[in-house]
Symmetry: C2
Subunit: 229 residues, 2 copies
């Protein structure tokens, strides 16, 4: 029987790399994306392109409305910070933090995994580049897996339960890009920008763009996407 | 400053009792309900009535679509079992189990709590009457709380983080009803049935109805709701 994995798919560079890594490990990939009141649907369009191009078995998009609670620049109308240097980005909890976002996303992934009989979930969290996000830390992921094993039928009925795979957690952006390129990921389909224009073109100035550009530079590779600058 | 608590509100007997218990502990209650592709909207109507009648500060209803994954009689078109005796109900994982449901619900509660600055979440899970549900067990709740403390800003910035309160977890249905009645809960507003008719009248035969009726009988009280039988 083929192994199944649920991969959280944002349309970004990290989650696309996760898809390739899961496939490289022999998994049939089931993609899961969220429409959560983002100001930009550019991400969702990218996730659909990626799902198709990378041969994902089934791609589900779940509509949830995190705007009901508010509290982040990615869902509210707070200004996304631009042009900050690395020292400003590191360490603090960013204004772009969405309350409990990964916890919500992983919970849906858990439901999906249980329904299709998958033992593995992949999430492209990164503890280096996004050290400010509490729900990207290894200790958070370990606690989530422990909880998930107690939450589900599988865990109760004697199985080991679901594994939360975070292959990117200790990698730099440059290492992620090198890995993805070696596995044939086409990064031209991906988007990372927090604040793209109406045509989906990346701003090149927000934290996500700056980290991405720096990653390609350090990987001695060229970022194939277009920027406004 | 007033203490705030997020209470998961299903429209049923247990969650209404939780509201009263949280208020009795001095909390301003913020109610959270879900529209998740249930075949019956009777529950949601009840939750709105309860929120209004019990003076809940703010009531949010989140639309999520668990039908995207399937896998339970409460969201699919599987027949709800009827007329089973207690021996049949206890111990097994019921067909009415929804994959990762409490995990998803608690994740939204966590986002809500973080946004409004609440340190407490109440969920009316019960380990006695619903021993078949893996995500109603004390060890699951403890693992969830541990994960939640690592997931959020609050947990990172030195606070203790959120508490998951499960005041009903060790109570029998009769004890829950007695407690609620002593706190003035009007159970005529609540609904428990898995399979009500088009007018919202409870069937009186599903597991939920049987447990409820047994609870009122053992509490020497009269269930104020109407039944088809």
């Amino acid at each position: 029987m083929t192994k199944k994995a649920v991969v959280l798919l944002s349309g970004g560079l990290d989650s696309s790399t996760c898809v390739a890594m899961a496939q490289d490990q022999g998994f049939d990939v089931y993609g899961l994306s969220f429409s959560y009141g983002q100001r930009h649907t550019v991400e969702l369009d990218a996730s659909k392109r990626i799902a198709k191009a990378m041969g994902i078995v089934r791609h589900e998009v779940i509509n949830i409305d995190l705007r009901a609670f508010g509290g982040s620049a990615l869902t509210d109308d707070i200004d996304v910070p631009k042009g900050r240097d690395e020292g400003e980005i590191d360490g603090e909890i960013p204004v772009t933090y969405v309350p409990a976002r990964n916890t919500i996303f992983l919970s849906f992934a858990l439901a999906f995994a249980e329904t299709i009989g998958a033992d593995d979930i992949y999430i492209g969290v990164n503890a280096l580049d996004y050290s400010g996000y509490p729900d990207c830390r290894p200790e958070y992921i370990a606690a989530y897996q422990q909880m998930a094993r107690l939450a589900t039928k599988v865990g109760v009925e004697g199985d080991q339960g679901v594994r939360i795979n975070t292959p990117l957690i200790g990698m730099t952006k440059a290492e992620i890009i090198k890995t993805g390129l070696s596995l044939g990921v086409d990064y031209s389909m991906t988007t990372s920008c927090y604040d793209p224009d109406e045509n989906g073109i990346s701003c090149g100035k927000c934290d996500a763009c700056l980290l991405r550009l720096k990653g390609f530079k350090e990987a001695d590779a060229t970022d194939p996407i277009e920027y406004q600058i």
